[in-house]
Amino acid sequence: MSAPAPRRPALADPIAAKATLMVVAFGFLSLFLLVPLGIVFISAFKGGFSTYLAALTDPDAGAAIRLTLLVTLIAVPLNVVFGLAAAWALTKHDFRGKGLLLAVIDLPFAVSPVISGMLFVLLFGAAGLFGTALADADIKIVFALPGIVMATVFVTFPYVARELLPAMAAKGRDQELAALTLGATGMQTFRKVTLPNVRYALFHGVVLCTARAVGEFGAVSVVSGHIRGETNTIPLHIEILYNEYQFTSAFAVATLLVLVAFVTLIAKKLLLRTESQGATA
């Protein structure tokens, strides 16, 4: 970390410029970040604490929370396995078409959430490519759990891999080659050499992936069908409450997601700090 040296007079801005920049920066942050956040909490507690609790303990809210947890618990591990496999294949080996594979892994980042969800409706929806086949076999994907999981996996697809790839590439291959030379099996090398080396990147990827999986709205909205108590995740439940003018309940449930966002930011900050301490130690 190269903080600018404190006494470098040439780098000091005129006091008026400094004051203006600080006012603009803080003004923007307060208006666009803090005011909306404050509104979430003020609106959530408008009816008192008991109303707040009632919104959270409502059976539909409970079902939404359980579904969100379930979807996250399926999607994140899948992305971890994929991320580790992709990073291992791409950084520890040489092959043709690496650039293309990397680009394809990144593709979901460039796709609008609505389009991401729509892809699975086009595949598995009633009028989709496999729609009639699935109907014959009596398998439900769209407007059911599998569709929600697929849409979530799609939008979170690059998160873990994108964090692992640079971390694994930065470590090179020497350590793995040394371990193998000393008689370790491939699996031992992976578990005892590679994995510990990239653990912060992996945690970071998992944190980002989890945050997105919990909060995904657009993609899940397309595939869920909004069946109350069945296919509503937390964000969709908030949308329904809001559209029914149950603002207090909507904001009450929203505070849960704000807390998830805060935990994400704190976890990210802590990981960065531990990582940089580990690097300088």
Partner: protein, 290 residues
């Protein structure tokens, strides 16, 4: 730093095991979760004949939606460009209490689920909300207008510019600015002629990322925009409407247009970064304290 061994030249000699397993898992999963769904999109839109496809993507409602989506994303990314530079500057150059908190808060729009951002911004900028009331005094309508769409996209896009500029600004050599000062440049001249050119690629990257994100944004926009067809309807919302009417092929056609647009942006960005890497890297003298 990386001291990666030069790879053996023989293509089939792989000193590290697990290639087929990891590659197999990767290709299977990429194929199933990314390639197959995107292929479905192309197939579905190809069900329309050329004339219908063209009519779908050029009808008045679609054109109005493109105008709003591209226009609002462009304006918001431009606002982000300026505010993101200011934020990055303040975070890198100034020391003040709570800097760490501010730095973490910049990521909030990425961490906060878009639906929550949407209802919170709508409440803040609706005519009854604190900020909306202020805008109303100025004769402006915050929520339920095109301005509302821009507001949501500014919120969503700000981390992209800050996070693109911050590391470059941090690594900027102080000696450059000192040399400029020694040579008689004012602070303003130094900023315009020394600092800004060095930040330009990062600014452009941040702008492009914020723009691309804004094009596809749905969650935060759907609440604040009011969703009037032809007026405050963005393309993702129009696609959603088509899907709800079971017009799958039309929705797919519109999606193809949006995807081509975002791929072009990211492709241009990629080229830009390659050029930047190819251009002579700024030499870092050995004596610079790390």
């Amino acid at each position: 730093m990386s001291r990666s061994e030069p790879a053996p030249k023989r293509r089939h000699y792989r000193p590290i095991p697990g290639f087929s397993l990891s590659m197999g898992v990767t290709l299977f999963w990429v194929g199933l979760m990314v390639v197959l769904p995107l292929a479905a999109l192309v197939l579905m839109s190809a069900r329309l004949d050329a004339a219908t496809f063209w009519a779908t993507i050029t009808d008045d409602r679609a054109l109005a939606a493109y105008g709003l989506s591209f226009g609002a994303a462009f304006i918001a990314a431009s606002v982000n460009l300026v505010l993101g530079l200011v934020l990055a500057w303040v975070l890198v150059r100034y020391r003040f209490p709570g800097r760490g908190v501010v730095d973490a808060l910049v990521d909030l729009p990425l961490a906060l689920p878009t639906a929550v951002a949407g209802i919170a911004l709508t409440a803040a900028f609706s005519p009854k909300g604190p900020l909306g009331a202020f805008l109303a005094d100025l004769g402006l309508k915050g929520a339920y207008s095109r301005l509302g769409v821009v507001i949501a996209l500014v919120f969503i896009g700000i981390p992209f510019v800050v996070r693109a500029v911050q590391p470059v600004l941090k690594d900027l050599q102080p000696e450059l600015e000192e040399a400029a000062a020694t040579l008689g440049a004012t602070r303003r001249q130094t900023f315009l002629r020394v600092i800004l050119p060095a930040l330009r690629p990062a600014l452009l990257t941040g702008f492009a990322l914020a723009f691309a994100r804004g094009l596809g944004e749905y969650g935060s926009v759907v609440f604040i925009s009011g969703n009037l067809p032809g007026k405050t309807e963005v393309v993702p919302l129009l696609i959603m409407t088509k899907l709800e009417q079971y017009e799958y092929s039309q929705a797919a056609a519109l999606a193809v247009v949006m995807l081509v647009a975002s791929f072009l942006i990211l492709f241009a960005l990629n080229r830009l970064e390659k050029q930047r890497k190819k251009a002579a890297p700024r030499a870092v003298p050995a004596g610079v304290p790390a």
